[in-house]
């Protein structure tokens, strides 16, 4: 039985079949990987490009970055502050969820794209205070509609920047490469 199978597998047809099987396995895996990298569906197709292009500062909508750990998502009433003056808001199908939320007082959920795991205690404030700009980590928001994560935010990525910025300052390097700075 096994011998027969091997015989078949080494025949020309068999070779093609094996090749197809291997290829389809790989492409399935690749598709799976690709799927995990797709941006999740968001309630509103928010265009960062447009808003940043209008000259709105990042910190206007995400002010928490200046104060504490989390930059925060803007409250819907903040969106409303501007949008109520825009006629299109009431008619646009894309903005319907916001209008509804404002009417009913019930919010909707976003899927965050730039995330660290729960065992990493990332705080925005010191990073902003150290003179980092938003685009250093989050990419150029004038180029994207829905925010995408421009890089894999893993430990090596954090560390490379920490080391670079602390180069030459031993005390700073100790602090910035200490496990307890992020993990506790």
């Amino acid at each position: 039985m096994i011998r027969k199978f091997f015989k078949w597998a080494f025949s020309p047809m068999g070779r093609i079949a094996v090749a197809i099987a291997i290829l389809s396995l790989f492409s399935l895996a690749a598709y799976g990987l690709y799927q995990t990298q797709q941006a999740p569906e968001q309630p509103i197709q928010f265009t960062h490009k447009l808003h940043v292009g209008l000259g709105i500062q990042c910190l206007y909508c995400h002010p928490g970055a200046l104060r504490g750990p989390s930059p925060g998502l803007p409250t819907i009433s903040k969106c409303w502050g501007c949008h109520q003056q825009i006629a299109k808001t009431q008619t646009s199908a894309l903005l319907k969820p916001m209008v509804e939320a404002m009417d009913k007082g019930v919010g909707f959920t976003w899927v965050p794209v730039a995330q660290v795991p729960d065992f990493v205690h990332f705080t925005h404030r010191p990073h902003v205070a150290a003179g980092l700009n938003c685009e250093n980590c989050h990419g150029d928001m004038t180029q994207v509609t829905i925010a995408v994560n421009p890089q894999v935010m893993n430990m090596g990525w954090c560390l490379s920047c920490h080391k670079e910025r602390a180069a030459g300052d031993k005390e700073k390097l100790t602090k910035l490469t200490d496990c307890g700075t992020c993990h506790y």
Binding site: N154, M155, G156, W157, L159
Partner: protein, 481 residues
């Protein structure tokens, strides 16, 4: 070609009393049979399976499936709470099993490498059996280590793999040394099992058909038995025999450092290295005795290969190891007692009169007193079942020894408020599972590869001759190397 000459075991007595009656054919080396016939015997021993074999095989398979795989899977899914480990005995039977199996594994290397290096001729028929114990024992030891991890799925972090985190494993940790030593030992001993197996696999290949032929053909690596191949094989075996000896000693020394390097009463002892090595040999020898007994009485034709003389020689070896072990155990405890550390004193009291003291006394009884008392007697040494019983007792004693060192000694520490006694829970099943898996491997191996190194026996039989020197009948060996 040097000619070595030595008395046969027991020959002196025979010479004096029953000079003529002592038939040299009772010794395997002087009882040669034609090579073809011997090969057939070995092949037959592999082929012959009775319903008893399959019944035992089936029971063991079920045990392995339930007690090993299911129980382990359950523990991974549920967390370690299903085991009995707790504060302060954070390590339990899993580590006991690890140390125990590593100890068992030492016998193989010792018998095949050290005895080979020292040219102890009685080793010839059972080197293979002992080496198999090394490899299979190490598998159980490794599995037990992984069982005890809280998050076994992340155990690859212990290997020095490059990663984006820029983190390496901690080479200061005795566990890291352990991992490296055991890995080295597994690789080394597997190679060392495999090399002497090649001629026998080639023999088997030439004498089988069907899937077995394919199996042996692949494993025999095209060995044909030419002069050059034999020379290379001997070189390689010699090389490994010498290389594996320090590895063997270092492995158990390093395993002992898991304990000796720790800051705990009872553990922090500098004699632990050699003490553990000797302990390993002690249990290993006992295990070999049991395996030989089982082989002789369950497998076909084995009564030809495994004879009284082998049990006798093994018994002597066990006795010697037992002497040395007694010295080390005395040394270890006397020094700890003499140290006068308060926590250690508490620990010794605990061993002496705590609820687990029965285990301590049994350990002394099985490991020292019984071997001392009975192995002097040639009748005991030469009766296979008696020696197997002694081997079994030694193994129980050695298991107790590891149990005392790990969970029982962990009970007592510097913080008396936390002293608590460990009770094994799922560990019992997993222990049964590892034993069953070991036996299952062994049973499978006994039907797949020749348990007798045929070529070694044949080589020995060719080298041995009886010569008459003066009035004495003397066995002589020609050394081919």
């Amino acid at each position: 070609m040097a000619v070595l000459s030595k008395y046969l075991p027991g020959a002196k007595k025979a010479r004096e009393d029953h000079f003529e009656k002592d038939d040299p054919r009772q010794y395997l080396m002087h009882d040669p049979i034609p090579r073809g016939q011997m090969n057939e015997m070995v092949m037959e021993s592999m082929h012959a399976t009775s319903w008893k074999f399959w019944m035992v095989f089936g029971i063991l398979s079920v045990l392995v499936a339930v007690c090993f795989f299911y129980a382990w899977g359950y523990m991974i899914a549920e967390g370690l709470w299903v085991a009995g480990v707790m504060r302060p005995a954070y390590w339990g039977i899993f580590l006991v099993n690890t140390v125990f199996w590593i100890g068992i594994s030492h016998a193989g290397t010792f018998i095949s490498a050290i005895l080979r290096v020292f040219k102890a001729e009685f080793r010839r028929p059972f080197t293979r059996a002992a080496e198999l114990m090394t490899t299979f024992g190490l598998i159980q030891a490794g599995a037990s280590i992984f069982m005890h991890l809280g998050r076994v799925w992340l155990s690859y972090w212990m290997f020095p793999l490059p990663n984006q985190r820029e983190l390496w494993p901690n080479f200061h940790s005795p566990l890291m040394w352990d991992l490296l030593a055991i890995t080295t030992y597994v690789l080394g001993s597997t190679m060392y099992l495999y090399l002497p197996l090649i001629p026998d696999l080639a023999m088997a290949r030439d004498r089988s058909t069907g899937w077995r032929k394919t199996f042996y053909r692949i494993l025999a690596l095209g060995f044909r038995g030419t002069e050059g191949e034999w020379r290379h094989l001997h070189t390689a075996m010699n090389f490994f025999a010498f290389a594996i000896i320090p590895v063997m000693f270092s492995v158990h020394t390093i395993v002992s450092w898991d304990f000796a390097m720790a800051m705990r009463p009872g553990w922090s002892s500098s004699v632990f290295g050699p003490y553990f090595v000797l302990g390993a040999l002690h249990s290993g020898m006992g295990a070999v005795a049991i395996v030989l007994f089982i082989m002789r009485y369950t497998m076909k034709h084995m009564d030809y290969f495994i004879r009284k003389e082998h049990f006798d020689a093994l018994g002597k070896l066990m006795m010697m190891v037992s002497f040395t072990y007694a010295y080390f155990i005395f040394n270890d405890y006397i020094i700890q007692w003499y140290g006068g550390n308060l926590a250690t004193d508490n620990l010794l009291h605990w061993l002496e009169e705590g609820p687990m003291s029965w285990m301590f006394y049994q350990m002394i009884l099985f490991n020292i007193v019984i071997p001392f008392a009975v192995l002097w007697i040639p009748k005991v040494r030469q009766t296979p079942w008696l020696l197997a019983v002694v081997g079994l007792l030694i193994n129980i004693g050695m298991y107790w020894e590891r149990y005392i060192i790990i969970p029982v000694m962990l009970t007592i520490n510097n913080m008396p408020f936390t002293w608590k006694l460990y009770e094994p829970r799922i560990e019992i099943y997993l222990t049964i599972g590892t034993f069953a898996l070991f036996l299952l491997f062994y049973m499978a191996a006994s039907r797949l590869i020749p348990l007798i190194p045929v070529w070694e026996v044949q080589e020995g039989q060719m080298a041995h001759t009886m010569r008459k020197i003066g009035k004495a009948n003397v066995s002589t060996i020609s050394d081919f190397e």
